[in-house]
Structure formats: C-alpha cells, structure tokens
Amino acid sequence: MHKQRTNAIVTLYHKLGSPPSFYRISGYFLKWLLLLSIGLLIWGLYEGLVLAPADYQQGDSFRIIYVHVPAAWMSMFVYGIMGLCGIIAIIWRMKVAEAVMMASAPIGAWFTVIALVTGSLWGKPMWGTWWEWDARMTSELILLFLYIGIMATYSAFSEDSRKAARMAALIAVVGIFNVVIIHFSVKWWSSIHQGTTVSLMGESHITWDMLRPLLIMAFATKFYYGYSMLKRARIYLLETESHKRWVQDTVNESNNGDKS
C-alpha cells in the first residue's frame, strides 16, 4: 500500500483509471491536440502538395501517398490501441479503458475507409483498375470488417453499455490475434496467386523532400486521433455515468460557461 503511494506511474494509472480525473485531465489536452493537428495538417498538405517534387515515374498522382499512407498507418495503430484497451477492460474491468476503446472505433473505421478509398483512387491511374486484390488492400478491407463487427457488437447490447463494451473488447482482442494471421495468410495467398506483388510505391526513390511531408501528416493524423478519441471518450463517460455526482457538477459548470 505504501509502496503504491510513492510510485508515480501507479498513481498516474489510478488517476487516469478514475472517470472524473480522466475527464478533468483530458480536458487540458483537447484544445492543444486539435490546434496541433490542424496546424500540422495545413503544413503537411502544403509541403506535400506544393513543395514536394513530383515522382519521376508516377508524376503528381503519387501525392495521394500523403493521405493514403498516414490513414493506413492510423487504421492499424488505432486497432492496436483498441486491442490493448480491450485486454485491460476484460482483465481489470477499467471503465476508462472501455471508454478509450469504444471511442477509438469510429475514428479508426474512418481511417480505414480513407485508406481503402484513397488506395483505390491511387490504384486507378497506376494499375488501371480501381481495385486489386493485393495483400495490403485485402487485409485493410478485412480490418474494416473487424471495426464494423466491434461497433455492431456494441450497439447490439446497447441496453447494458457495460456488458456491451466488454463484449466488444473481447472481439477486439480476438481480432488482434486474427489480424496478424489474416495478414500473413493473405500475403501467402497473393504470393502464390499473382507471382509478383504489386506495390504502389514501386521502385521509386523517396527523397527527404518527399518523406518529410509524410511524417508531418503522420503526426497530424495521430494528434487528430488523440483529439477525437479523447473527446469521444469524455462523452462516453458523461453518458454512461450520467447518474453520478461528478457528471452533474461538470454539466452544471459548463452550463454556466455557455449561458452568455
């Protein structure tokens, strides 16, 4: 007990684990996350669309990379977060983990959709077809199904949000194992059925001028995810704890602020 009190990490864990303090602490970050992501988004898109040189093979169409790749990265990153929170939610029954997990699902699904559609928009000029069943696109599509499954499970049990979240958590955890297996099996499959793997990036050499905007965009999407997830998790906590004292105090406070 005494040891716990001295350990800063454990204290932080317990603080973040309690809905009211999570709500309070996350409130400080929201504005900054949003501003940072908008700023980086503008900067990254400006560099990517205006400053970066055109690819010598793909021309200007390669600029789709600046939204496609960050979105694809995020779709997997967010799923990883969901799996992690799912494990915490199932084992330690931490409500905040449930909130973070369910708050990640919509934005993660959005990123997956963006990755899929922009991939298709990139594929048309490059491959001459809107859709190619290559390993990456196929796994991404199945990832979308997993996102949909998690959200569908949650809404199917909507009369008991606690149970719904834990059910969805289980799907997320099972899905984590499966994403890996699915990815490798699809890779194996496309290697025997297509002979050569088609790659969007091809052999082109990525210069620093081309890479920098990509990294900026990667950070921009990460910050936007942070904003969207925290905001949604806060709403989730307000909604599910609505009969508790701290929620009523919070709502009253914001009420006084809004009434101008």
Binding site: L41, L45, L49, V50, A54, G59, D60, S61, R63, I64, V67, H68, A71, P106, I107, W110, V113, I114, V117, T118, L121, W122, K124, P125, Y224, S228, K231, R232, R234, I235, L238, E239, S242, H243, V247, Q248, V251, S254, N255
Partner: protein, 53 residues
C-alpha cells in the same frame, strides 16, 4: 496556379483523395460536437426530472 490544381493530369484522383480525407475529419469533428450537445442536454433534462420529484 492552374498547374497546381491540374496535378499533372491526375487532378480527379488527387483532389478527391484529399477531399475525402478532410471531409472525413470534418464529419467526425461535427458529429462529435453534436453528440456532446445531445448528451449534455439529456443529462440536464434528467437532472430537472430528479429536481421536480
């Protein structure tokens, strides 16, 4: 400037990609604000119901 919007002939593909990306963010953002308003309104209404009891 025209050249910039033309994107070397790939205007449709590039701009719809960017548009979708930004559109999704904006939809997500607006959806969040609306959800927050509804939830807070519902909680306030519930508190009034409790007060009147």
């Amino acid at each position: 400037m025209n050249e910039f919007f033309n994107m070397g002939g790939y205007a449709f593909y590039v701009w719809s990609s960017i548009g979708l990306f930004l559109g999704a963010m904006v939809i997500d953002f607006i959806g969040l604000s609306m959800k927050e308003k509804t939830v807070k309104r519902n909680i306030k209404s519930w508190m009034r119901r409790k007060l009147n009891k």
